[in-house]
Amino acid sequence: MKDFLHHLFFPQVSNNYRAKLLHRKSILVVIAVLFFAGFSFSAIRISLPSVLGTFSDISSEQLLLFTNQKRQENALPALSLNQQLSNAALSKADNMFAQNYWAHNSPDGKTPWVFIKAAGYNYIYAGENLARGFTNAQDVINAWMASPEHRKNMLSSNYQSVGYAVETGKLNGEDTVLVVEMLGSTALAAAPAPTNQLASKTQQEIIVTTSSPVPTPTSTLTNKIQNVAPTNPLAGGLVLDANKTPIPKPLINSATLSSDVSKGVVAIFIFALILDMIVIERKRVVRLVGHNIDHVLFLTLIMLIITLIVRGAII
């Protein structure tokens, strides 16, 4: 075993002074294995979703706990979990998967407020934060807190309640975990403010939560007036899928596994290239090969890109 590893990584007579792993045939074998494994993983994900698939350890309780921790650190009252807002968040998540979009407004123009109203929550203030591709609740909260707009939403004194949905599905051709946070209040939470300030702040709250298009102050006002009248919880063609069968949690998280394996392969090649470079320079062996340093830089770039790709996104 020791000799094999030596032969694989250490330039010596047995491998013609080039680490065996860096020989053309070895690289070709690794390339073939990676392509085969990619197709195999994909097939297993489809045929055996209980073994290999996408899941996260995010729960509404954790999200609420971490959000309230941040609010307490900023001397703000804790939010309470509201079932109507959770239903609205679930409807929004299902709608995003059904219509395949990653935005605050649906392709057919449904704003987040439509889902909140349809769930029967008569808000005065409302907001929405979205996240995808995260594997734990703390990372979601940290990402939102790192974004000034989302942070403003989470730390707003205007909200009293919150609802969450954590759903797994296919979005833009990618299996992902979607987190929807709906914030709201049915009464003025903060101390009374002058009318013009209040109007401005209400608008700001909704602007913060919507990337594009931004609702106009008029539509915000209309929403508020409409909320005074009782609304049908299931109006507007929205159906809360209460009978949805939960997808069993797979044994292995494919995203984490493939990310770890990819990083491992990159790290092994970087190690082999650096070792090869150091040994050859010390032994002053003349070879006609490419510059190892070029490949090390390229593989380091891949490592960075993997980190960039597997991290979650927020809007």
């Binding site: 990619g38 490419g290 510059h291 390229f298 891949i302 790709i309």
Partner: protein
């Protein structure tokens, strides 16, 4: 290693610019993983071209070196393919 970098500092600056540009584009394409893969393949193509040109200008180009850069580039693409196809079902 550092001697080699010092001798070819202009080449490495150009390579780092290509990579920095690629990272910026990939970051901007988040969360569209198909587009990110496309940008990565393009960047790999430029890496291979850069490697071949570098050796050509320094009069040390051979078919073995061309194959080596193509193989390392293909290895990078295979790693990204495994990550995206196996991990995210792209």
């Amino acid at each position: 290693m550092f001697k080699k970098i010092n001798e070819h500092v202009a080449y490495y600056i150009s390579l780092i610019i290509i990579f920095a540009w690629g990272i910026f584009l990939i970051s901007s394409a988040t969360p569209n993983k198909q587009l990110q893969m496309l940008i990565f393949v393009t960047m790999t193509f430029f890496y291979v071209i850069w490697g071949v040109l570098h050796h050509f200008i320094n009069h040390e180009l051979s078919s073995k070196i061309v194959v080596e850069y193509i193989l390392i580039g293909t290895l990078g693409i295979a790693i990204m393919f495994f990550l995206l196809k196996g991990g995210f079902g792209i």
